[in-house]
């Protein structure tokens, strides 16, 4: 059968990691995939070598707009690791609260987009409306809806006022009924099931081989979560469950994220109600020569930072690795053999940016344009409509 090359990309800077995919298809089936990165490479690792340890915290906060706390969290832990410093308890709790708030809104954002790609714009609207509540709560806690600037090596920059806590708990609690409704809507819906079950399966072996992270690996039965395995912050003081499912398809990734949102609500509430008193900053004076590693569980998986100091006030080397760096290659294993109309949701399932899906074009071998990104989302939505009419669902 004739082969068709589909270039997808390169660029949509709305979310992190713009990338360019080239799909080769035979008819409807994807037979080969190639990924090209670098369209938004900003040289932050190099830049960080020219910043002081304090300034780098704000630099790495700007790696990603959605999980803006994960990188400062990993970075400050790496700096603290150089001097084997334990931050004060209160700072640990505040860090945990901010990180989990971010997880909730990041997962909701993903859920909304996944709904949109599948032709469920109601899910999209509900999830994003819900996300607003969380962002409001974060604004009360940190002063910002995103890019909270709460972290510094040694602790946190701002305290949480006792008078703010009841209001924030009320806000966080208010999302639960809608979240339960959304959970039922996505987990019990036969059409959504038909679109996502058995699609884009990442096997456990592949997840380990590609060292996949976060919900992407936990949906494949790999029970790994930095929060549980290498406890940091206040995670070892809260009773929460690690969500692991076995099938590795798009549906399981969806389930993991939805259920994790409930756990995050639980963690935030526990931390707010049991916030210990005391200092919020260990007041680091200077960083001696040495090297440190900091890794934390970001919404998409582990963020990893390595910092080396030579005794000056700047890092000589600062390596940062975002979770998508490990998760993106897995899609070579998941998308082959699938159809183009499912490709959109498989790209989206690892929760990268939706640059990949927004800017897709399908070309045949002569370079004639067949579809663009919108068409592909439409293809995906039409497939849902077909299944709906077959099942007799409105």
């Amino acid at each position: 059968m004739a082969r068709t090359i589909i270039p997808i990309g390169p660029y949509h800077p709305l979310q992190e990691e713009p990338s360019f995919f080239t799909l080769t298809v035979e008819g409807e089936r994807v037979v080969a995939v190639d990924v090209e990165l670098g369209y938004n490479h900003r040289g932050i690792e190099k830049l960080s070598e020219r910043k002081t340890f304090d300034q780098s915290t704000f630099l790495v906060e700007r790696i990603c707009g959605i999980c803006s706390t994960s990188h400062p969290f990993a970075y400050t832990r790496a700096v603290e690791d150089i001097i084997s410093l334990e931050v004060p308890q209160r700072a640990k709790y505040i860090r945990t609260i901010i990180a989990e708030g971010e997880r909730i809104h990041s997962h909701l954002l993903w859920l909304g987009l996944a709904g949109h790609f599948l032709g469920y714009n109601t899910v999209y609207m509900w999830a994003w409306k819900l996300r607003e509540e969380v962002l409001d709560a974060m604004e009360v806690l940190s002063g910002n809806r995103n890019n909270y600037a709460m972290f510094k090596p040694g602790g946190v920059r701002r305290d949480i006022k006792a008078s703010d806590i009841p209001g924030v708990i009320k806000k966080i609690d208010s999302i639960i009924p809608t979240l339960v409704m959304l959970k039922k809507a996505v987990m019990d819906d036969p059409v959504l099931g038909a679109r996502t079950k058995g699609i884009g399966i990442l096997t456990k072996e592949d997840a380990i081989n590609y060292a996949a992270l976060g919900p992407t690996s936990r949906a494949s039965g790999v029970a790994r979560d930095v929060r549980k395995d290498c406890p940091y912050g206040a995670y070892d003081r809260v009773n929460w469950e690690m969500i692991v499912t076995q099938n590795g398809d798009v549906f399981d990734k969806l389930v993991v994220r939805v259920l994790e949102t409930f756990e995050s609500v639980k963690i935030i509430k526990h931390c707010l109600l049991n916030l210990p008193n005391g200092e919020i900053d260990a007041k680091i004076k200077n960083i001696p020569p040495g090297e440190g590693i900091g890794h934390i569980e970001a919404p998409r998986g582990e963020a990893f930072h390595y910092v080396r100091s030579d005794g000056t006030n700047r890092p000589v080397r600062h390596k940062m690795r975002a979770p998508t760096f490990m998760n993106l290659p897995t899609y070579k294993a998941t998308v082959i053999g699938q159809t183009i109309s499912d490709a959109t949701i498989i790209f989206a399932a690892i929760d990268p940016c939706y640059s990949c899906t927004e800017r897709m074009t399908v070309r045949n071998t002569k370079g004639k344009k067949l579809y663009n990104g919108e068409d592909l989302i439409r293809l995906s939505q039409e497939k849902t409509a077909k299944i709906k009419s077959k099942l007799g669902v409105k």
């Binding site: 190099k46 060292a211 395995d229 290498c230 582990e302 080396r308």
Partner: protein, 157 residues
Amino acid sequence: MEREKVLADIQERFKADIVDFFDKSPARAYVEIKPSSLVKISSYIFKDLGARFGIASGLDARTQMEILYHFICEDINLVISLRVKLDKSKLEIDSLVPIFKAADWIEREIYEMLGINFKGHPDLRKFLLPEDWPKGVYPLRADYKEWDDKAIRDRGA
């Protein structure tokens, strides 16, 4: 296996390959090894110990190049970092891609940023830098200088 046993076992098993062993803190251990032993030790840590490959980080330490391979043993909450030092006259090391695919992208990145060649990598080509980036210019090397004074990307902070 417990943490102490794992570390003692690695030291015993690869006695001839280990140059230096630094037990930094309860959750961190740095093991400097001979570059020629990298594949052997990594494959033991990844396959037999069941550790996850976190990432590798290359760096120009002026007198030589260093690569650290970070493995995370979740069962015992330990990050084992294998350190290899490469002589600047021969920047070459064995690729880890034949053992696990997770090493694919990071080796391409180090190749591009520091100019270290990975023997046996199936697909060592342009990764992050622009297409018009000149050959032989490695931005993360200590002696890196701006090659295009008109380019904003080189000016940094």
